[in-house]
Amino acid sequence: MFLQSLPTSLNVTNAPTPPVYSDHFLYSEQLQRPYECPERPSGMGLLITGKGNCDFYVNGIRNRVHQHTVLFVNRSSQLAIRILEKDAAPTLLFFNSRLPDLIQQSLIHGDDVPLDETVDTLPFDFSFLERMHHDPDLHQTISSLIALGSNCSSFASLKADIIIRNLFEDLLKENQDAFRLSKNIHAMKAATRLEIFKRVSLAKDWMEENFHSNITLEEIAALAAMNSQHFLRMFRQIYHITPHQYLIELKLKKAKHLLDTTQQTVTEICHAIGFESIFSFSVLFKKRFDFAPSHFRKA
């Protein structure tokens, strides 16, 4: 992996263009000026910003990336970049176009990857991930590669390779899960299933980020650009659980984590996860984990 400034190769006057990478590339730069690059076929990549907002256009649709969000771009999607904020710090991690197929194959076949096949042409579909991800951990992992890219530590390249492979394995597993879950949607066309799944996933990510506040079904549905009843139906079809049940599950899991790892009182935890009634919290917690919160901590 090389750490490089923003790619002139994405500019119209320069060659070569993605997705013909011989290896994965990490571009990172603190901009001193606006940066624009016209639409081009993209390699598979993850786009973040370390500072400020960056606009990435994928197939003509604007995605405003800010800190803690990660935009996944599928290979061959049309990518344009427009960053007007001075001091923004975009980071673009593009993968060798063979890498995803090799990893996907190894996930399916174990270590016996048939290298004699032209794997890059295999019909693996990674489009389920092509959206904005609200994932601070993923953001942090990509940021850690920036340090490794200009690092003198022993075997820095090997460690970067390991991180990239792990990161990609996680993403591809998520893509496989997404593909499996999307089949739960009662829609005739694959493209419709894909679109619905992406929208609902985006809203689900947002719920995971904001479960501790008072959020309504209408707010969540609006993020998915659906009316609330349609969103409720789609969410249930995909995850076999209602958004409300999912929110409760998120709150209870967080409460369990806080009971495990902090000294906060049960009342403090109850409020931190967005429950107003300690009684309701205790009842739901006991139902979910077989112990009341205070007994759970003692146990």
Partner: protein, 169 residues
């Protein structure tokens, strides 16, 4: 100590002289505890049945390994396979980019020579920069630490998690 003796970027050889015995040098490479004493934070070797080797058990040919580095979480783990372990003086395994690394241990002028040979590296420009140079730099430090440990017991590795971007981890 170490020397880079090739104009062929597909392989490199490094040698380090150590005042020790062949047995001790071999044990430092071919047991999980030995590897953790000078190189790794954690070394997990499994036999063909998938059973983990104990810390002082000799590593065997065809073992699978997962290794972890100081200064990095368990998510940063390299996996590979043991290609040869003759129980005496030869040990080889897959490493960076799956390339074989062979260790031979022999006597020379009343000292023990540990010779590391990494080969079959792709010779495109990026691999040369990243792995030919990066791997040889990494091995030079760790072979120095191997010498230090086997001769005097001083561990040169950085184990302070607050410190990074140093050659000692």
């Amino acid at each position: 100590m170490g020397q880079l003796t090739t104009s062929d970027f597909s392989e490199f050889k490094l040698r380090v002289n150590i005042k020790t015995t062949v047995e001790n040098a071999y044990k430092a490479w071919a047991t999980p505890a030995g590897l953790e004493s000078w190189f790794l934070r954690k070394a997990v070797f499994k036999n063909e049945k998938g059973e983990s080797r104990k810390a002082d058990d000799p590593i065997q040919e065809k073992d699978d390994y997962t290794i972890f580095f100081h200064g990095y979480p368990d998510s940063v783990a390299e996996k590979g396979k043991v290609l040869q372990a003759n129980g005496k003086n030869l040990f080889s395994f897959t490493f960076s980019k799956g390339c074989p690394v062979s260790i031979s241990i022999y006597q020379e002028h009343n000292e023990i020579m540990v010779e590391l040979f990494e080969s079959k590296l792709p010779t495109d420009e990026q691999t040369i920069i990243r792995h030919y140079i990066g791997d040889s730099k990494g091995w030079i430090f760790y072979l120095t630490n191997l010498k230090s440990i086997l001769e005097g017991g001083l561990d040169l590795r950085n184990k302070n998690e607050e410190i990074n971007n140093v050659i000692t981890a």
